[in-house]
Symmetry: C2
Subunit: 222 residues, 2 copies
Amino acid sequence: MPQTSAPRKTLGRPPRISREEVVTTARRIVDAEGVHRLTMRRLATEIGSTPMALYHHVRNKEELLVLLLDDYATRTLQRPELPAQPRERVIATAATIHEALAACPWIVEVLTADDLMATSALWFVEQIVDGLIECGLPSERAVHGYRAIWYYTAGEIVVRATAARRRTDDTRPTYREQVFTDLDPTELPRLAQVADHWSSLTTEDTYLDGLRALVDGLLGPR
Amino acid sequence: MPQTSAPRKTLGRPPRISREEVVTTARRIVDAEGVHRLTMRRLATEIGSTPMALYHHVRNKEELLVLLLDDYATRTLQRPELPAQPRERVIATAATIHEALAACPWIVEVLTADDLMATSALWFVEQIVDGLIECGLPSERAVHGYRAIWYYTAGEIVVRATAARRRTDDTRPTYREQVFTDLDPTELPRLAQVADHWSSLTTEDTYLDGLRALVDGLLGPR
DNA sequence: ACCTGAACACCGTTCAAGT
DNA sequence: ACCTGAACACCGTTCAAGT
């Protein structure tokens, strides 16, 4: 919660820059050039100020990143029309979160946070937990189910994002390709068998398939 | 594969440090003080040399980290006794990988790699793919299944590791706790209902439950 | 209250030269 | 072939002082 709109209690030098301006400018840098280009110094010059001025509006860089995540979630997480059937509601909600995150790869570095806990994301968590409960899970199992879905979703994003990063800034064959070409088929027969299609198989987007499997497993008879 | 044991082809100044020594020393630093303390300069002084000497044995820091991961996998990924039943074999293999990674939180920053593709980890991938095939999946579905399991596993590790990091270097209440105390029960009834137990529920280790659900869902009738 | 300048204590990596 | 010294082009953050 930014305090920018709070009335000024005491007199003093009028602020030249605001927390909001800091976040907005940071967002512009990140969108244009990636998180790794966001530095306090760069941000300061972009904003026409000095590094230290930023520390009056933001505790440190870590906090700035969290604010950035929040800002992103607030702007882009649109609540979708949800199906009536609770199982499908769980799927659709998770898929929406996944889509928002996938569109924003830089987020990974921040988001590997405890939980997807931007206030604006809570509604999504609610939908998933509620859907699982309506499908018959006791509330503790529903929370655990939500966690499992979150692990799976975050994992997919992180793994894919890093794979993409490796691909762009590295021209030589990946370590994986190297490994797969000289596979011993007597020791690792299955891998040798699929070696040729491995990279095409792993490039396919199977997030939804895995999600459906996970939800089926969470709800299925045990 | 280190080239340290290759016979020297041409004459020249005899090497004072080896790639192996670089990796071993790096490992010691990381084990003792965490990845964030591993810098090329630090490593150089620790090894009794200069930063630039390292670049004769390692392409750059990125490569050093990959070597470190490989080294870790080779030393600690012990092949377990596996159950005969294929479904249980998949579970047991994934659990072993998970355990090795969980014991080594620094690995997250590296491991968010394309795949868990250290050569020594391939045997584990083989077991999972093979188990899924023996349970009746066609080989492409088995590879996708492996990917889903990997996403789930990597996600669990990443999320938990970051949560732990936040907890240690931050004394004030987490953002999450803050959010959960002022939940609106009319807007988010389910979350309000479980708010009190949320943190205990999310601290529980439910990796295995989620894994079982996922594997059930991957194999179950659809 | 808010901002500035200078400084502290670092980074990864390159270049040119030495042995 | 291997190593060194000095330098480049940066970091995040603190401190003391200014308005």
